[in-house]
C-alpha cells in the first residue's frame, strides 16, 4: 500500500519534471534543424544553419552578446551597491517607517514596470537618458532592486552585527570592518543575489526596448522579432545561445561560492 503510494507520488513528480524539460528538448531539436515538416515527430534533416546565420548575420552577434553581458553586469554591480546598505538597515535596525520602506522597495515587483517605464520615458528624453546605455541601466534597477534588497536583508538578519561590533571594539576603522568582516560574511548572499539580479536584467525585453529606443541592443532585443514571426529555427537557435550564456554564468558563480564556502547556492526569492 505504502509502496504503491510512493510510486504514484514519484510518477506525478517525474512527469511534472518531464513536462518542464520536454519543451526545452524540442527547442534544442529545432535549433539544430534544417527541415522539420508536418507531421513528422522528429526533424527530417539536421544542420547548423541556425547558428551559422546567427554568426553571419549583420547583427554582429559577438558585440550583442558582449553588450548584453556588459549591461547586465553593470546593473548587477550597481544593484548590489545600492542593496547592501539598504539591506543592512532593514536587517539590523528597527526604525520608524521600516514597514513602509520595505513595501516601497518591494513595490516594483508588483507594480508593472511596463507602466512605470512609459511614465518615466518622457522625463528620460528631456534629461538625455533615453536611448543611452546609462538610461537602460537605470531603468533595469527597478525590477532588480527588490530581489537584491530582499535576499540580502535575510542574510543580514541571519548574520547579525555582533562580529562587526567586535571588530569595532578592537579598534578597526569602518572601511576595515566592511572589507574584512561584513563583506566576507555576506559573500554567499551577494553571489546568489548577484546571479539572480544578473538573470533578471539579462532577460529584460520591454524596458530595454522602450528606454533603449533601438540604440541599446541586447540579446532579447535581437531574439524577439524571430519569436514574434514564428521563425522556429532562428528563434530556437538564439534562445539556445541565450540559455547557454546564462547557465554558464550561473554555474561559474555557483562553483565560486562552493569553493569559497563549501555551502550551497540558494536563490531565496
Amino acid at each position: 500500500m505504502r509502496k504503491t503510494r510512493s510510486l504514484i507520488n514519484n510518477l506525478i513528480l517525474y512527469s511534472a519534471v518531464f513536462l518542464l524539460l520536454f519543451p526545452i528538448v524540442i527547442l534544442i531539436l529545432w535549433s539544430f534543424t534544417k527541415s522539420w515538416p508536418w507531421p513528422f515527430l522528429l526533424p527530417k534533416e539536421l544542420s547548423l544553419r541556425g547558428f551559422q546565420s546567427i554568426i553571419r548575420s549583420g547583427n554582429n552577434m559577438g558585440n550583442v552578446v558582449l553588450c548584453s553581458i556588459c549591461l547586465s553586469m553593470t546593473v548587477t554591480i550597481l544593484t548590489l551597491a545600492l542593496s547592501i546598505p539598504a539591506a543592512k538597515a532593514l536587517g539590523l535596525y528597527n526604525f520608524k517607517g521600516k514597514r513602509a520602506v520595505k513595501m516601497l522597495i518591494l513595490a516594483p515587483l508588483i507594480v508593472p514596470t511596463v507602466s512605470v517605464s512609459m511614465g518615466i520615458h518622457l522625463a528620460f528624453m528631456k534629461i538625455g537618458l533615453a536611448n543611452t546605455f546609462l538610461g537602460v541601466v537605470l531603468v533595469h534597477l527597478l525590477p532588480c532592486l527588490p530581489y537584491g534588497v530582499r535576499i540580502l536583508t535575510d542574510v543580514f538578519e541571519i548574520t547579525g552585527d555582533k562580529m562587526e561590533i567586535q571588530a569595532k571594539v578592537l579598534g578597526a576603522r569602518p572601511l576595515q570592518v566592511f572589507l574584512h568582516i561584513t563583506l566576507p560574511m555576506i559573500m554567499p548572499g551577494i553571489l546568489s543575489a548577484g546571479s539572480l539580479i544578473f538573470i533578471v536584467s539579462f532577460s529584460q525585453y520591454f524596458l530595454t526596448f522602450l528606454i533603449g529606443g533601438g540604440r541599446v541592443i541586447t540579446l532579447p532585443m535581437v531574439m524577439f522579432p524571430y519569436i514574434q514571426s514564428g521563425d522556429r529555427i532562428m528563434a530556437s537557435s538564439y534562445s539556445l545561445v541565450f540559455l547557454a550564456a546564462s547557465l554558464l554564468l550561473l554555474i561559474v558563480l555557483e562553483k565560486t561560492v562552493k569553493s569559497y564556502y563549501k555551502t550551497e547556492n540558494h536563490f531565496y526569492i
Binding site: 507520488n9 514519484n10 506525478i12 513528480l13 517525474y14 511534472a16 518542464l20 520536454f22 519543451p23 526545452i24 524540442i26 527547442l27 508536418w38 507531421p39 513528422f40 515527430l41 545600492l82 542593496s83 546598505p85 539598504a86 538597515a89 532593514l90 535596525y93 526604525f95 520602506v101 513595501m103 516601497l104 522597495i105 513595490a107 516594483p108 515587483l109 508588483i110 508593472p112 511596463v114 507602466s115 512605470v116 517605464s117 512609459m118 511614465g119 518615466i120 518622457l122 522625463a123 537605470l138 534597477l141 527597478l142 534588497v149 539579462f202 532577460s203 525585453y205 519569436i227 514574434q228 514564428g230 522556429r232 528563434a235 534562445s239 540559455l243 547557465l247 550561473l250 536563490f267 526569492i269
Partner: protein, 293 residues
C-alpha cells in the same frame, strides 16, 4: 550626538536605494498619473480632468482588455498555486529530490518569458508538436482539426506559458518553507493520531499560508501587468492591458498619450490594492508562524 547618529544611520544607509526608487519608480508613476488626468504641458494640456478615465471606463475595448487580463492572471495563478503546492508536498516525501530540486530551481529562473513563449509556440501551435503527436496517434486527421491554442481568444497559449514559468516557482518557494517547518510539529500531530491528510491540511498548509499568498500575489501581479507573453502569444483582440497601453502609447498623435496613461494608472492602482492585500495577509497570517518554526 552619538545617539542621534545611531538614530539616523538606517535612513542614511537606505538613502541611495530610496533615491532610485523615488527618483525613477515613483516619479514614473506620478508623471503617468498626471498625464492621465490631462496634465501634459508638452502639448499644451494643463487642465485637470477625469474625461480620459470616463472615456476609457465606458470603452468596450478597454473593458474587454481588463477582463481578459484579469482572467489570464487569475486562471494561471490559481492553477499554478494549486499545482505548485501539490508538487512541493510530493517533493517533501521524495527521496531522490536533489535532481528534481536542481531542475525546478534553475530552469524557470534562467528561461526568460519570451523564450517560455517560444517553447509553448513550438508545442501548442497548429504546426507544433502536440498536434503532430495527435495526428500520428490517429486522434486528428489534419492540422486544422487541432484547435487554435495560440493567438486564441481564451488565451490558452498565454496561460500555458505562465504556468510553465510559475508552477516551479511556487513549488520551490513552498517546498523551502515546508522543508523548514520543525519536524516535531508533524510528530506531535502523528502521536495525537492525525492522518497524513490531516497533518497537511491542519499543520503544514496553515504554516505555509503566508508564503503561498505572497507568492500568489507576486505571480498574479506579474502576469497581470506583463507585456511580452500576451504580445507574442495572445489574440489581436482582446489585447492584454499592458499591450493595449503600449498600443495607445506608441500612437503618433501625442494627444492620445493621456489614454495610455489612464490605462497604466488603472494597472498601477490595481497593483497597489494587491500590495495592500500582500501586507495584510502577512500581518494576519504571518503573525505567529515565525515563532512556531
Amino acid at each position: 550626538m552619538n545617539n542621534l547618529k545611531v538614530k539616523f544611520k538606517p535612513y542614511i544607509l537606505l538613502a541611495p536605494a530610496l533615491f532610485i526608487i523615488l527618483g525613477i519608480f515613483m516619479t514614473g508613476i506620478i508623471i503617468g498619473f498626471a498625464q492621465s488626468l490631462g496634465y501634459f504641458p508638452v502639448i499644451g494640456l494643463r487642465e485637470l480632468t477625469l474625461k480620459y478615465y470616463k472615456e476609457i471606463l465606458t470603452d468596450k475595448e478597454f473593458l474587454t482588455s481588463l477582463k481578459f487580463s484579469l482572467y489570464i492572471s487569475l486562471v494561471s495563478s490559481v492553477i499554478a498555486v494549486i499545482t505548485g503546492v501539490a508538487l512541493a508536498y510530493l517533493m517533501l516525501h521524495n527521496k531522490h529530490k536533489k535532481g528534481v530540486e536542481q531542475v525546478l530551481y534553475k530552469l524557470p529562473i534562467v528561461v526568460p518569458h519570451i523564450v517560455a513563449a517560444l517553447l509553448m509556440y513550438n508545442i501548442l501551435s497548429q504546426s507544433g508538436l502536440l498536434p503532430r503527436l495527435l495526428y500520428n496517434l490517429g486522434v486528428i486527421n489534419s492540422q486544422q482539426e487541432f484547435p487554435a491554442l495560440i493567438f486564441d481568444k481564451r488565451g490558452i497559449g498565454v496561460i500555458a506559458a505562465y504556468l510553465w514559468k510559475e508552477i516551479p516557482f511556487i513549488a520551490m518557494v513552498v517546498y523551502t518553507v515546508l522543508a523548514n517547518i520543525n519536524d516535531r510539529l508533524t510528530q506531535v500531530a502523528l502521536n495525537l493520531g492525525a492522518s497524513k491528510g490531516q497533518i497537511f491540511w491542519h499543520v503544514l498548509l496553515p504554516l505555509a499560508m503566508p508564503s503561498i499568498i505572497s507568492s500568489f500575489i507576486i505571480i498574479f501581479a506579474f502576469s497581470f501587468g506583463a507585456y511580452e507573453v500576451p504580445y507574442l502569444l495572445g489574440p489581436t483582440s482582446p489585447k492584454a492591458l499592458a499591450v493595449q497601453a503600449y498600443v495607445e502609447y506608441s500612437h503618433p498623435d501625442l494627444a492620445n498619450r493621456p489614454y495610455a496613461m489612464a490605462v497604466n494608472s488603472i494597472l498601477t492602482i490595481i497593483s497597489f490594492i494587491l500590495i495592500w492585500i500582500y501586507e495584510k495577509s502577512f500581518r494576519i497570517l504571518g503573525g505567529n508562524s515565525e515563532e512556531i518554526r
